[in-house]
Amino acid sequence: MLSLSLKEALSRLKDGSLSAKELCEKCIDRAVKTRELNAIVTPTYSQARKQAEVAAQTWSRTGKSTTSARKLEGLPIVVKDNFCTKGVHTTCASRMLENYVPPYNATVVQRLFTQGAVLLGKSNMDEYGMGSGSVDSIFGPVRNPWKYEFTNTRTIPEGTLDTSSLLASPQSPGEALGTRGLHRSVHPGTGGSNPGLHEEGAWRVAGGSSGGSAAAVAAGICFGALGSDTGGSTRNPSSYCGVVGLKSSYGLLSRHGLIPLVNSLEVPGIMARSVDDVNTLQNIMAGTDEHDSTTLTDDRFVTSDLPEDIDVKHLHIGIPKEYHAPGLSPDVLDAWRRAADKFEQAGAKVTEVSLPHTQYSILCYIVLCCCEVASNMARYDGIEYGHRGQQELSTEQMYAMSRHEGFNEVVRGRIFAGNFFLLRRNYEQYFLKAQRVRRLIKDDFTRVFDEGVNVLLTPTTLTDAPRYDWFTAADNRTRNEEQDIFTQPINMAGIPAVTVPAGLTSNGLPIGLQFIGQMFKDKEMLTVAKWFEQQVQFENLNLDHLDN
């Protein structure tokens, strides 16, 4: 049941064959049983139960009436821990915000709540979104549920998994904190304590930085999740975890309440188990927000459902030749080829196109990202909120101590680099140059679309999900450069892209393919993606065996 799509779950709630309370308990149960994935860092089960209770009452009142019920009434979701949630810890997986509880909801979170969504928990990530493996978190790494051997299915006896006993007393203020503490102490050592089950570090990373959300969707903990996408942070883990991951057009979804990494590149990301599901969630969250001056204010975007009968005959699909990059695994290349063939066989025009400047995207990204990071992180001084170092000799010393202790090495490194790039003497050489290159990258896409291409088709990642030990053998920046190679240029251009599972590799791990659309033509892109999804008939990960 937990492999159902959001749409299917909703129709069961509607026809009464499933109750919102039951669904919520199932999801909580799954979340607890898959705890070693380390996907959820702050569970909000007691809040979820209350929300589900309300939803159950609403459904029993409204029955089959589709008009009065809210669009997500009773559907469990998970939110990445860099979206502000009122009264619920929002840590960005950083020591800096370890005890930070925001006094407001991010606009996108609020819009989901308004439609009746049930928040199951906050999901793990790379600290402040700086990473591509969800391994650099104060809560420890996220594990990819695919090909993962859960220890608790064999070693932990029945009963201890009783969710109500583990997470009793819904009123307990320590609920969130206690569980978060548990994750931290249990996980780094889990592999070691069960040497027989998992060769140390042989499990797969979830991708990042929204790895917790992707793993949660894949593992059946929730029916939809929020990630954020600055250079691929939603699409990369979605691809590795075999779920659909949408990066909307810049300006479609409000960033108000999303704790920023790179304001000019990032958008809230949407993850679910089908293209229709991400479309539903996008419809609910999209639109003008007076709190975010960069949101769309005109009518270039209209919410609508995707059609069921899709014809791709008149479409022009572009295949960017630069995406045939070194390091592309044969499995991924094969999936890409087969997908292109499918479109061609269905009558679409499929041609090779060129995006000559995309190769500079990563370098350009490093400069722009570091600059905005240096700026955005300047507010964490330990005065109004966040970690404050125990150093009172002077204000400056207190800042230095708070920031040194509060940020990990990756964050500090980027701040350092960003401040260097922004120095008066370097500004022209780095920041301005990077902005010019960004414009060239954007122009590449514009030109291709102007030439008549409707949607571009590319791989999402070079390979399937890498092993943890391999992934952590190189530093964060090296991994970013190779992980974000296919996803990153899209953020530079601000256009929409979606990754859809295209099949499994010989290892039995999912492969994602990416569709890239034109600015604010998210619906056209999603329609193409849905057609592809219909052809592939990808089988979602099923962890129902954990329930026994």
């Binding site: 502000c84 930070y100 309440g257 109004e384 922004l422």
Partner: protein, 538 residues
């Protein structure tokens, strides 16, 4: 930097044929061997008069309880974003128009980074590279203490480099005893207009003359209340000295200029100090100094010793700011959601320079009087109301208002909007004074009464009564003065006297005038009555 443009051609005064004093000063200073000249540029931070802050909905009232006017954005809570306040853009636009600036149809915001406890985000949102407006100018009179109303005013023009919108910071309160700093964020995020002048000024006097004109304009267009004591109008001065024709010298920034007097004294002090340093063969260090009011010195500011690199970066969360004019409004945009320069221009009230000119042409006032009436808030309107009923006495009324009225108001620390006395009543008092129905001292008393709230007419009533009934005590004295005048007149044997005798009415006026010259106590009307009586007897 281009050489300062001075519109200050020395010319002879049209009335008394004297040289304006600036010309004298220039020519006399050529006698000294090493001639140093001060070069001053001002940076003014004017808080925008608006209900809410530049990028948040928090209130902007001055003097609220600590930290009670702070939105999440003002405290830089993670995830909050700026949304610009339209009123602030309009205020900036109106100010720019009033200061003859070019308004940029597209302006942009930048982040200026520095760590300070009362700057919660670690950066200030400002406009460095593409400000709201550029290249303005302001013409203003230089107001010397010894200026005569007979001379036209000596004007100069200062160029304005730019006007930018930016956020104000919070306030730090340092407690040295327990080594603590307390932060108040009520001011954090309040909209500021930073107005930057070219280095066209050369002295404290010129600088404060400029500031007075600027304050007049900002208060007229209601974009800033210019209350220096509340910090809503703050001035920093960049000061250097050089020898004319030479490149500009090393400049020093002086901060903490909290009053007009401080601006004047600090600039004059700093110019003197730099001259002395150079004359002693020392170098000027490019530093930031603060004005110590009590000591009358500028002192280096300790925390500004290190030269800061503000690492400017475009603000990514604010799209470029567009302002339109009637020809450029794109179709489909709601007029209530855009800022239209042509509409702002229409709404602009008459500016002080125009008002002064009107006072000069309408009432024949000397420029100096027109200036003084214009610069005092509310004075022009009051003046006009008083003069309306007495079109023959505009200069007399002006003198009474600048003299006794302002004098008494200053003693009581009153402004024109505090005054409840009607212009008609004040005008009547002026009439009586002009008729010599009271002495200067009595007039002062009357004015003092009228400034009470509500106005007291005790003194005025006594004068009115005296005028109607005549005063018995002084009758004898008056009669004796009149007899004296008559005697003098009879003794004189001019042709004029004979002529006057043939016209009794003219004779009465002449005699009464003579009597008023004998003593200030003598009122014309009374003297005339007495003469009529005396002449009839004869």
């Amino acid at each position: 930097m281009a050489a300062p443009m001075r519109v200050r051609a020395p010319r002879l005064c049209q009335i008394c044929k004297c040289f304006p004093s600036s010309f004298l000063r220039c020519s006399s200073s050529t006698t000294s061997k090493r001639k140093w000249e001060g070069v001053v540029g001002l940076e003014i931070h004017a808080q925008i008069l608006a209900e809410s802050k530049l990028f948040s909905g928090a209130c902007t009232k001055f003097g609220g309880t600590t930290n009670n006017q702070v939105s999440l954005f003002d405290a830089a809570f993670p995830g909050t974003l700026p949304a610009i306040n339209r009123r602030c853009v309009e205020a900036g636009g109106q100010t720019a128009l009033a200061l003859n600036c070019q308004i940029n149809k597209v302006s942009k915001f930048d982040r200026k980074h520095y760590f300070y406890a009362d700057l919660p985000a670690g950066y200030q949102i400002t406009q460095l590279r593409q400000p709201l407006a550029k290249q303005g100018s302001l013409r203003f009179p230089i107001l010397r203490g010894d200026i005569s109303p007979k001379c036209p005013l000596d004007y100069m023009t200062v160029r304005l480099e730019q006007i930018q919108l930016e956020q104000d910071s919070g306030k730090s309160i340092h407690n040295e005893d327990d080594k603590q700093s307390l932060i108040d964020l009520n001011r954090a995020g309040v909209g500021l207009m930073e107005i930057i002048t070219a280095p066209d000024l050369s002295s404290g006097l010129e600088s404060v003359s400029f500031l007075r004109e600027l304050i007049g304009i900002l208060t007229t267009v209601s974009t800033c209340n210019c209350k220096m004591e509340e910090g809503s109008f703050r001035v920093d001065a960049n000061i250097s000295v050089h020898q004319p024709g030479e490149p500009l010298g090393t400049r020093v920034e002086v901060k903490n200029l909290n009053s007009i007097r401080s601006v004047k004294n600090a600039i004059d002090y700093e110019i003197r100090r730099q001259k002395q340093q150079l004359q002693q063969g020392k170098q000027i260090i490019n530093d930031t100094r603060s004005w110590d009011v009590s000591a009358g010195l500028t002192l280096p500011m300790r925390d500004k010793e290190i030269e800061l690199d503000y690492r400017f970066m475009p603000e990514p969360n604010l799209p470029p700011l567009h302002v339109y004019d009637n020809t450029s409004i794109p179709a489909g945009l709601n007029p209530s959601q855009i800022v239209n320069i042509d509409v702002l221009q229409q709404q602009l009230p008459p500016l002080p320079a125009q008002q002064k000119q009107d006072l000069v042409t309408t009432y024949g006032l000397p420029e100096l009087y027109a200036h003084r009436i214009e610069v005092k808030p509310g004075m022009r309107d009051y003046y006009k109301k008083v003069v309306e009923a007495r079109p023959k006495d505009p200069i007399y009324i002006a003198v009474r208002m600048m003299g006794e009225l302002l004098g008494e108001m200053n003693k009581k620390k009153l402004e024109f909007n505090d005054i409840t006395c009607s212009p008609e009543t004040f005008g009547e008092a002026c009439d009586l004074r002009k008729l010599n129905a009271m002495t200067t001292r009595e007039f002062e008393k009357v004015v003092e009464d009228l400034l009470e709230n509500p106005p007291s007419e005790t003194h005025l009533n006594r004068i009115r009564k005296r005028l109607l009934m005549g005063s018995r005590d002084s009758d004898e004295q008056l009669e004796s003065i009149c007899r004296q005048v008559l005697e003098d007149f009879e003794q004189g044997s001019h042709l004029k006297n004979a002529k006057l005798k043939r016209n009794p009415e003219k004779l009465l006026i002449f005699l009464a005038q003579q009597a008023t010259k004998k003593s200030v106590e003598v009122r014309f009307v009374h003297a005339r009555t007495v003469f009529k009586k005396l002449l009839n007897k004869e």
